[in-house]
């Protein structure tokens, strides 16, 4: 009874195999029309995560909106003139009529609540009910704006050149659609003003568009580059097509499964096609060996069988390592990363399955004369690349101490660089500096109080507590304390309303711009305010029973670090000014901070897990912990070098990079697996004692496969360096660097280490490789 062999089956029934693969692909393809994207950064963490539950509760308590679009209007000559104000009034009116806009809570000149006293009459109502018709009215508006701290830095910049309209969206509204209509509205206005449409929903939409661009444009380009590179390497269209076919099939199966299972495409999974294409290049080793074997044997089917026998173990184990490297991601806390890990792990398994069925099947169709011609150059002796690589390996083997010493110096320098790494996620910085969204963000941050919004929820166990003067003054003090920080632009709280009313009731006397002395006064002022203001004005800053207050903090940067500083400053303030309240951070800025820390935790966890898993796989493959340890070195070294560079360059260590470092273990280890497996095979097959010669051969022949693999990988990912989102660029650069470095190090450093450690590594009987076990001949 013979064991079922997928390879045998595929060689015997190639057409059936291809047909089956084609049919299955069609099945997965039917899922594609259901594709959805998810660009909401909130979804990085599960809905049940503490921070999301808490933030939702805060939104509910204070009637806050999840999404707000900010429309900036800038005029170098100042916005306070009749023409610009007329335009602002028209634009706001247009926005109020848009579907999906929470009309009642739009805040701009024409709608924001103003509290004033004119001729003894208290006025609570919209700041500018209609566009001013006379210059005197414009001047009155200017006085109203700059005389009210609630407005400066919120709806008017200090220099009077910029204003903003805050447009909250109803739940479930399509932010992209609303933003588009707002752009149409401002486009109708002719004048010197510049308009900026910014805010979370806009960023998300832009992000989604860029993601599709990556998948629809950059992935195919990467594919074409790989195709061209393979064609250049093997000069056989059928082979190149087979390779691309394999990756296409794997991509369609994986993405089809993702969509079919109901998952949306996220920033991470949008990179899946490029990853799978790159991982598919592992099949290069099959072609590489096939060419060498075919040249040696001249019999196609025998060459296929022998090739599959020789490379099956390393190919299986590299696939296992890669799949494991990605599967580790499923243990992380960040949802899109989990999905991505599962997706690529599945794709890798599919790729390997195809390597043992689809590829041998295609190989049977390749015309012999074509292979003969293309394979003509494939011999270690006759190939310039192979010879150069052989010499590289030989150098490592001949000069092991020099090689290792240089490596150690680099390790030291990299370790220093690594210590400078700065973990930070800044979602706005994911867009390029020239992008519309970054420009808008920069402009608004410069002119107004800041676009990154965080809250500090001040909570007492006692209802009505927030009406106490000491609570009001405490919040006011907290605000002043926070405003001394460079990252904080503007803050506001219920205390600002109370002070404003106190001053206005006392004929706008500055002396009364303070919190009054009794709780009743505060209560009556707020009651008075609520008699005319929009319900949301108070709801946004206090809960219905006045047991909790919400302090708004606008920050000038999206760096997660900014919110950490705010929290620390609040704690410091509370220590210096004890009050029986708790202060809890909330809002999107806080979410980013929590998420940022999760990334760091995930990195440590994932990296640790990947280290263990990859080591176990190596040890299993080599059946030797020692070889596993040696095989590990180039890999660790590569990653350390890259971290060093990241540290020196000062690039933020963010989520995509952290995921990459985990993955890179599983991917970069491939080369070591191929190298060590084939080296030991060679030693066993030849029964040679000449380690240096065997090393040179390995560096030359499987080494060429490794180099080809690395080049293809790098070629595919280099395309991402031209992508419009910085995480893609960073990932592209990371992978290109990693592949080239780890290939180089495998071919140079491994021979040096093996040479140095030969006693330790070879002093016991050689374990079984593919050929029958043979006693090792100690060196």
């Amino acid at each position: 009874m013979t064991k079922f062999s997928l390879v045998e089956f595929s060689i015997r029934r190639p057409k059936l195999v291809l047909l089956l693969a084609g049919l299955l692909t069609l099945v997965f393809l039917t899922q594609f029309p259901k594709i959805r994207t998810d660009t909401n950064p909130k979804h990085m963490l599960p809905e049940t995560s503490d921070v999301r539950v808490w933030n939702d509760a805060v939104d509910k308590t204070f009637a806050l909106y999840e999404d707000t679009i900010v429309v900036g209007v800038e005029n170098d000559a100042g916005v306070l003139n009749r023409d610009t104000l007329g335009r602002i009034a028209r634009i706001t009116d247009g926005i109020l009529g848009l579907d999906g806009v929470a009309t009642r809570d739009v805040n701009g000149f024409t709608t924001i609540t103003n509290v004033t006293a004119e001729a003894g009459t208290l006025k609570v109502g919209p700041l500018m009910p209609a566009a001013p018709r006379t210059d005197a009215e414009v001047e009155a508006l200017r006085a109203a704006l700059f005389g009210n701290t609630l407005f400066v830095d919120r709806v008017i910049s200090k220099d009077g050149k910029t204003t903003a309209i805050y447009v909250p969206l109803e739940k479930g509204a399509n932010g992209a659609e609303v933003a588009g209509k707002i752009r149409d509205i401002v486009a109708k206005e002719k004048g010197p003003e510049r308009y900026y449409v910014a805010g979370d929903p806009v960023a998300r939409d832009t992000f989604g568009a860029e993601m599709f661009k990556l998948m629809a444009i950059f992935s195919p380009i990467a594919g074409m580059i790989m195709f061209a590179a393979i064609q250049y390497m093997f000069r056989n269209l059928a082979l190149s097509a087979a390779m691309m076919g394999v990756s296409m099939v794997a991509i369609i199966w994986s993405i089809g499964l993702l969509i079919g299972a109901g998952f949306p495409v996220h920033i991470m999974s949008s990179m899946a096609p490029v990853f799978l294409m790159a991982i598919a290049t592992d099949s290069i080793h099959i072609f590489n060996e096939f060419y060498f074997r075919y040249k040696e044997r001249g019999d196609k089917l025998a060459a296929i069988r022998e090739t599959m026998a020789a490379v099956s173990r390393p190919v299986r184990f590299t696939a296992l390592a890669t799949a494991a490297g990605f599967a580790v991601l499923m243990f992380m806390n960040i949802v899109p990363v989990q999905v991505f890990g599962a997706l690529i792990a599945f794709g890798t398994v599919v790729l390997r399955l195809l390597s043992f069925s689809f590829i041998p099947a295609v190989l049977t169709f390749v015309r012999e004369d074509r292979i003969a011609r293309a394979a003509g150059g494939e011999s270690v002796e006759g190939d310039r690349t192979a010879r150069a690589l052989g010499r590289l390996g030989a150098f490592g083997a001949a000069r092991p101490w020099t090689t290792v010493a240089v490596a150690l110096v680099l390790v030291a320098v990299s370790a220093w660089g690594t210590s400078k790494i700065h973990v930070n996620n800044n979602l706005v910085a994911w867009f390029k500096a020239s992008s519309e969204i970054r420009v808008a963000d920069t402009t608004m941050n410069r002119a107004l109080g800041g676009t990154s919004l965080g809250y500090l929820v001040v909570e007492s166990k006692e209802a009505e507590f927030m009406k106490r003067p000491e609570a009001m003054r405490w919040m006011e003090g907290l605000q002043r304390h926070l405003e001394t920080m460079p990252v904080v632009g503007k803050t506001f709280s219920v205390a600002d309303y109370v002070k404003r009313i106190n001053r206005v009731l006392h004929d706008d006397d500055k002396q009364y711009d303070v919190v009054p002395d009794t709780k009743d006064t505060v209560g009556q002022y707020l009651f008075l305010f609520s008699m005319s203001a929009k319900p949301s004005d108070l709801d946004n800053v206090v809960d219905p029973v006045f047991g909790k207050a919400n302090v708004w903090i606008q920050m000038k940067t999206w760096d997660a670090e900014a919110m950490r500083q705010v929290i620390a400053a609040a704690e410091e303030y509370q220590k210096a000014n004890p009050l029986p309240v708790t202060v809890k951070p909330a809002g999107i800025a806080y979410f980013n901070l929590v998420w940022n820390d999760e990334v760091l935790g995930d990195l440590v966890l994932g990296f640790g897990l990947a280290l263990v898993v990859v080591f176990v796989i190596l040890a299993l493959d080599f059946r030797s912990a020692r070889w596993a340890l040696v095989g590990y070195v180039p890999l660790l070294f590569t990653i350390l070098l890259i971290y060093g560079v990241v540290g020196f360059v000062g690039k933020d260590f963010d989520m995509p990079l952290s995921v990459m470092s985990t993955l890179s273990l599983g991917m970069a280890v491939d080369f070591a697996i191929h190298f060590v497996s084939r080296l030991r095979q060679r030693l066993a097959e030849m029964g040679t004692t000449d380690l240096a010669q065997a090393l040179a051969w390995t560096a030359a022949r499987p080494g060429k496969g490794i180099m080809r693999n690395a080049m293809l990988f790098a070629a595919a990912f280099s395309v991402m360096m031209a992508a419009p989102l910085t995480p893609y660029v960073a990932v592209g650069a990371f992978i290109v660097a990693m592949m080239l470095l780890s290939a180089l190090l495998t071919l140079l450093l491994l021979p040096a280490l093996v040479t140095l450690g030969q006693r330790w590594l070879l002093d016991k009987p050689m374990p079984a490789a593919v050929v029958a076990p043979q006693p090792a001949i100690g060196g």
Binding site: T103, E170, K519, M531, P544
Partner: protein, 261 residues
């Protein structure tokens, strides 16, 4: 001949409905906001948010008609709750086709302040009722059309569609179910300017007070935010002989006991 038919066709809706939309709304306003010469009531207002959290407003409201239905009125409110606003008073002189006059007494600083009434659309004491919802909107400000007649519960109603003549209302249009028997509005649906359902008023309980059918329980619900306000009338009385002098700054500061308990 053809002209006659055309004229007949034009006249047809009128003859079918017998009364016009405007007439219905005028009668409704008279029944809802103007019954009696004067009126006194203890009002309990519950402001309830989406999650069922409640805030309470309790006040005594006095009203005196100085003209005919649809004409001038004076309102006086004395607050009991929330606790910290006790003794606050609020007074309105309501004029048709002109901005109201409003005053507020703030006991903590012992100050009477005139309050600008520029925005009738703003919320009344933080509730879902606007000033307009409380003291009425000028009938002339809207075009009224009887859309249909239908039964609401056991009541035969006119359903009147009112569309503001100018764009100053906080609604785009509204539908009012006016009870044919009492002319009280039993339900009102307000739509925003985008045509989406916005607020809904319901008269939850109507009782006979001294021969005047009076809405003693009502709810206004904001359909967009889920926030609602429930209002209950306790101890309503008509025709007490409220004096004009009661509606003055002096009594804002020191309202007579017997009128505000």
């Amino acid at each position: 001949m053809k002209r006659w038919i055309a004229l007949l066709a034009l006249a047809l809706p009128l003859s079918v409905w017998a009364v016009s939309g405007e007439e219905v709304m005028k009668k409704s306003q008279a029944a809802f906001l103007y019954p009696g010469k004067d009126f006194k009531v203890r009002v309990l207002m519950k402001l309830i948010n989406r999650d069922g959290q409640e805030r309470v407003r309790e006040m005594t409201m006095l009203r005196k008609n100085t003209g005919a239905a649809g004409g001038e009125q004076k309102y006086f409110m004395y607050f009991f709750q929330p606790a910290d606003v006790k003794d606050m008073t609020f007074m309105t002189y309501k004029y048709p086709a002109k901005d109201d006059d409003r005053w507020m007494f703030i006991p903590a600083v012992n100050m009477v302040k005139r309050i600008a009434a520029q925005d009738k659309r703003s919320s009344f004491v933080g509730s879902d009722f606007t000033y307009e919802d409380v003291s009425g909107r000028d009938v002339e400000d809207d075009n009224h059309v009887i859309e249909r007649e239908e039964k609401l519960g056991s009541r035969d109603c006119y359903v009147v569609k009112s569309t503001p003549k100018a764009g100053d209302a906080d609604f785009g249009h509204k539908l009012t179910w006016v009870d044919k028997a009492t002319f009280l509005p039993v339900k009102e649906e307000q739509f925003d300017r985008k045509g989406a359902p916005y607020k809904q008023f319901t008269a939850d309980e109507i009782a006979d007070v001294k021969g005047q059918p009076t809405v003693i329980k009502r709810t206004m619900k904001n359909l967009q935010t889920g926030h609602r306000t429930e209002v209950g009338y306790l101890k309503s009385e008509y025709d007490l002989g409220l004096e004009d002098s009661l509606f003055s700054e002096r009594f804002l500061r020191q309202p007579p006991r017997k009128w505000v308990d």
